[in-house]
Symmetry: C2
Subunit: 108 residues, 2 copies
């Protein structure tokens, strides 16, 4: 099975409660069967020249690109997407099939 | 077991052969025991307002933050790091412990 990733690095506007965003995203990820994995992280690298001020990373995994497309077109995602984009001060989003190098196969 | 991620989104200078960069990074990841996972992806999202022109994502996984720090201080990484930074036109780097939400545990 391949893995298609939807990755977002973000910095939030002042006053935004990131825990609320994570709670909403969690609810959405749990509800949508096509989401195989959802995880997030808070940046710990203390070099703004490298992080560009991004503070959080969100990662969603789908089996195939079409599953992501279907989720993005889903009413629930659209509502959350607007909330999310209104909350971020800056964001980078990338979609890509993950190539496994080490190990050469996805985890079981 | 937790997972500590070292993530880099990059866009390369004109003329850079990205396959060469991936080959060197693969060699490094295979040599360094502390690297539990190395994968990469080429962006497929066709919205520059979101991708900011970044074309590739590289992900390295370590058991703990200290393992990443040890690798970054490793002579082989330092040599490659200079090569990599000279090849990129722009990059964002973030280090973070990954919080597993769905599923709530790392893969076996």
């Amino acid at each position: 099975m391949g893995e298609f990733k939807h990755l977002c690095a973000a910095r939030f506007k002042e006053g935004v409660v990131v825990d609320d965003i994570i709670r909403e995203l969690t609810k959405l990820a749990v509800e949508l069967d096509a989401v195989k994995f959802f995880g997030w992280g808070e940046n710990m690298l203390d070099q703004e020249a490298l992080t560009r001020g991004f503070t959080h990373v969100f990662v969603l995994t789908f089996a195939i690109a079409e599953d992501l497309a279907a989720c993005l077109g889903h009413g629930k995602h659209c509502a959350f997407g607007a909330t999310f984009m209104a909350a971020v001060d800056d964001a980078v989003v990338m979609d890509f099939p993950l190539v496994f190098v080490k190990p050469a196969l996805p985890p079981c």
